[in-house]
């Protein structure tokens, strides 16, 4: 049989450029954040080129007349390779710059920073975030077995700063990602490329038994942004097993190159987050306050950013689950929109009054044994966080009253410490008092009046107890504690409007004449209606937990004894 010569089909020539659109089809929030991360990285190269801080051989391609071989506009990034086969070298150098590891084993992503070299302890905290989100699997990063310690600068003279321990990293998956994007000739690949968890957290092969068919795939113009999602997003640890991943809602790349570095935390307290909503608000506040970002955007004669809220953010929570304890799975997402100054202002105040704090403790140690034993003391700093601020942050993010669900803090167990949340509330009494004293925290007068009325009633009850136990301070203290517990249980245990009204009326009637109620009874009444009783219950508990003596801040009966 005669051999049939098939007509030779010419392959289309590989492109000499790659353009990625922010709003292209299939560009999810993570893709857009990734494209923002790519833009930030390219902007970092431009800054270093301008300052002469990058060698020519490290540039992805030659700058012609100081013009970079790429273009960033509001909605797209174009990479120009010159020739199609230059793509390999271009991407190799770009990835080498973007995904660096310092000599001390800390991952350093220049796109996340302005020009200053970040503190090692900041990078160590960020690295903890990476290893709980993008780089959580052992096969996608090489870490040293031994821990390395670094510390923040001391905030109090003579007391060491907060120590952060990390495992030095020698390699991670993103560094070699360019190899998947080019073919043997060094040109860009055509078709789709496999997406996996380290590149896009939460994305997995649907059915492992059919990996080849059921994996997630993206074309090149969506895949390259995904590699840079680790730069555009912000990963921070909540504790050793839980992390939050912030995915900024990027809408303008030329602004995001200033927003993203401004989002990066710069202090030990900034790196301490309590939950996903808390992390988002913190980042938004940092962006709003960052002078460099404000100056840059204003100098470009763009819209005024002073006072305006910053980028909206999706935030994911990663934690081990009982059915997949070996990995950190996504278990929740939340979206915090941009543009609401009142919400951000309220969070800012909550962060001020209920901030994480650096606590110094004295540790007693000894060396040697027997007679040679030498005792010594050393001081250690650690970060302690609020249990109320995460509740406030989540409520604000979801558009609820900031105190919504406060009763849970008096009834639930803290999963991180396995102790009741209420045990930690005593450290937040002053912060809570400052919160309720701040007029801008309230939407309605009625909320404030309920708190004041409960304060007045408690004050009168404590005064009665003090009067009855003038000669017996121990009994007085015990009775203060008992009184606090009585109303805590009565309010927190109220499951119906009637139960709550009974508890509140009981307190008010026992306390005697209440000047706040006399003045504002008509304001309080709507709060006792069936539709509002949960708010009133939360406010009553808030009043109970924030109560402090009229003259002396430290003299707080009840809570003190707890």
């Amino acid at each position: 049989m005669a051999k049939v010569n098939k007509p030779k089909i010419e392959k289309p020539q590989a492109p000499d450029h790659l353009t990625m659109n922010l709003f292209g089809p299939g560009m999810t929030a993570l893709h857009r954040a990734g494209l923002g991360g790519l833009a930030c990285t390219l902007a970092a190269i431009e800054r270093r080129f301008k300052n002469g801080r990058i060698a020519k051989k490290e540039l992805p391609a030659t700058f012609v007349n100081d013009t970079p071989p790429w273009e960033i506009d509001e909605h797209s990034v174009s990479l120009r390779f010159g020739k199609p086969e230059n793509a390999k070298e271009y991407l190799r150098k770009l990835f080498a710059f973007a995904f660096g590891i310092r000599k001390d084993g800390l991952i350093s992503l220049p796109g996340q920073q302005f020009d200053a070299e970040p503190h090692a302890a900041i990078l160590a905290d960020l690295q903890a975030g990476f290893t709980l989100t993008f780089l959580q699997h052992g096969q996608v990063r090489k870490l040293a077995k031994e821990l390395t310690a670094t510390s923040y600068d001391s905030e109090v003279e003579g007391v060491p700063g907060v120590v952060v321990q990390y495992k030095a990293c020698s390699e991670f998956k993103h560094q070699n990602g360019w190899q998947n994007l080019v073919d043997k000739k060094g040109c860009l690949v055509s078709g789709t490329i496999r997406v996996d968890g380290p590149i896009s957290p939460g994305t997995v092969v649907r059915h492992v038994a059919f990996t080849g068919d059921t994996g997630a795939e993206d074309p090149l113009d969506r895949m390259l942004p995904l590699y840079f999602a680790i730069v555009g997003c912000l990963s921070l640890p909540v504790n050793r097993g839980v992390a939050s991943l912030l995915v900024p809602d990027v809408t303008d790349l030329t602004e995001f190159v200033y927003d993203r570095p401004a989002m990066t935390p710069s202090t030990a307290i900034d790196c301490q987050i309590a939950n996903a909503a808390d992390a988002v608000f913190r980042a938004q506040v940092r962006v709003r306050r960052n002078p460099r970002r404000t100056a840059e955007v204003q100098s470009r004669a763009r819209k005024s950013v002073v006072g305006s809220a910053s980028t909206g953010c999706y935030a994911m929570t990663f934690t081990p689950t009982p059915w997949a304890s070996q990995q950190k799975s996504r278990i929740a997402t939340i979206y915090v929109p941009a543009g609401n100054d009142q919400t951000l202002d309220r969070y800012d105040r909550a962060a001020k009054y209920l901030s994480a704090r650096i606590v110094v403790r004295t540790i007693k140690e000894s060396t040697g044994k027997g007679k040679a034993k030498v005792p010594r003391e050393r001081q250690e700093s650690f970060r302690a966080d609020s249990v109320v601020r995460p509740l406030v942050a989540e409520n604000l993010a979801l558009g609820r009253k900031w105190y919504f669900g406060f009763n849970k803090l008096l009834t639930k167990i803290n999963p991180a410490t396995e102790k009741p949340f209420r045990d930690q509330l005593q450290f937040e009494r002053k912060g809570l008092h400052d919160m309720i004293a701040d007029d801008t925290m309230w939407d309605e007068d009625a909320e404030r009046v309920v708190v004041r009325a409960v304060h007045e009633a408690i004050r009168r009850r404590y005064a009665q107890i003090a009067d009855e136990n003038k000669t017996n301070p121990a009994a007085m203290k015990n009775r203060f504690g008992g009184e606090y517990d009585k109303w805590r249980l009565a309010f927190a245990g109220a499951k119906t409007p009637d139960q709550f009204r009974k508890a509140l009326c009981d307190l008010l009637s026992r306390a005697g004449r209440n000047s706040v109620l006399q003045e504002s009874w008509d304001t309080v009444l709507p709060m006792l209606r069936t539709s509002n009783w949960k708010h009133a219950r939360d406010l009553s508990l808030l009043a109970l937990c924030s109560y402090q003596g009229r003259n002396d801040d430290s003299a707080v009966p009840g809570l003190e004894s707890k």
């Binding site: 492992v208 997630a216 993206d218």
Partner: protein, 212 residues
């Protein structure tokens, strides 16, 4: 163009890449609505009405909740083997009310629009199977009716329509690769405030197509 009023008590319009913690889109993507319409008329060939334009309008504000459910992750064959299921969280929308606009002017004869009209006029003539669902097969549809103007119960209602926009913030599929994801095609659009009975512009309605 015709409009369908559709209610689904409980639904999840799963995001394409959300394969652990199954997040939902705020409203059903055009591809999901298209699948629902094919099921409604008893059509089993998914390519039969390529070219139809579908625009969903969400006219309620569904509450979002999260449940723990069983999902299939096939690790070994046969499919019923132990270890092929695992728990996972899923977001659910409760109280979904939609108007789905459908236009078949760019289809060949006997377009989907005409078939839907006939189905609703003479349901007994249709041969179809399974419960009518929107999203997953367990997310059963409660009510389907034609939007006729003026229709009193929708006259004052407004909602958010998914309409094409060059720089839209939302990207939703118009064709789904049910095995992997390489064949999934998306359009970019925005959620636009509109009244329930306002027909969208034809050009802004997403077109069902595997060839974007």
């Amino acid at each position: 163009m015709l409009g369908l009023y559709v209610t689904v008590p409980v639904a999840c319009f799963r995001k394409g890449l959300a394969r652990e913690y199954l997040e939902t889109e705020p409203l059903p993507p055009p591809a999901t609505c298209y699948g629902f319409l094919l099921s409604l008329v008893g059509e089993t060939d998914r390519r039969r009405h390529i070219g139809a334009r579908v625009a969903p309008v969400l006219i309620s504000k569904p509450a979002t909740s999260v449940v723990l459910r069983t999902v299939w992750r096939v690790k070994k064959t046969p499919l019923g083997s132990s270890g092929n299921t695992r728990p996972d969280y899923q977001q659910l929308l409760t109280g979904v009310e939609l108007v789905i606009w459908l236009d078949s002017t760019e289809e060949a004869d006997d377009g989907l629009e005409q078939r839907v009209r006939e189905t609703l006029a003479n349901p007994a003539t249709i041969s179809r199977f399974g419960g009518l669902s929107l999203g997953e097969s367990t997310h059963l549809v409660d009510e389907v009716s034609l939007v006729t103007s003026p229709q009193t119960r929708l006259a004052d209602r407004s909602g958010r329509a998914f309409l094409r926009a060059e720089r839209g913030r939302l990207t939703l599929p118009v064709w789904v690769d049910h095995v992997g994801s390489a064949g999934t095609r998306y359009v970019t659009g925005d959620l636009v405030e509109t009244s329930a009975l306002t027909m969208p512009l034809l050009a802004s309605m997403p077109t069902i197509s595997p060839d974007y």
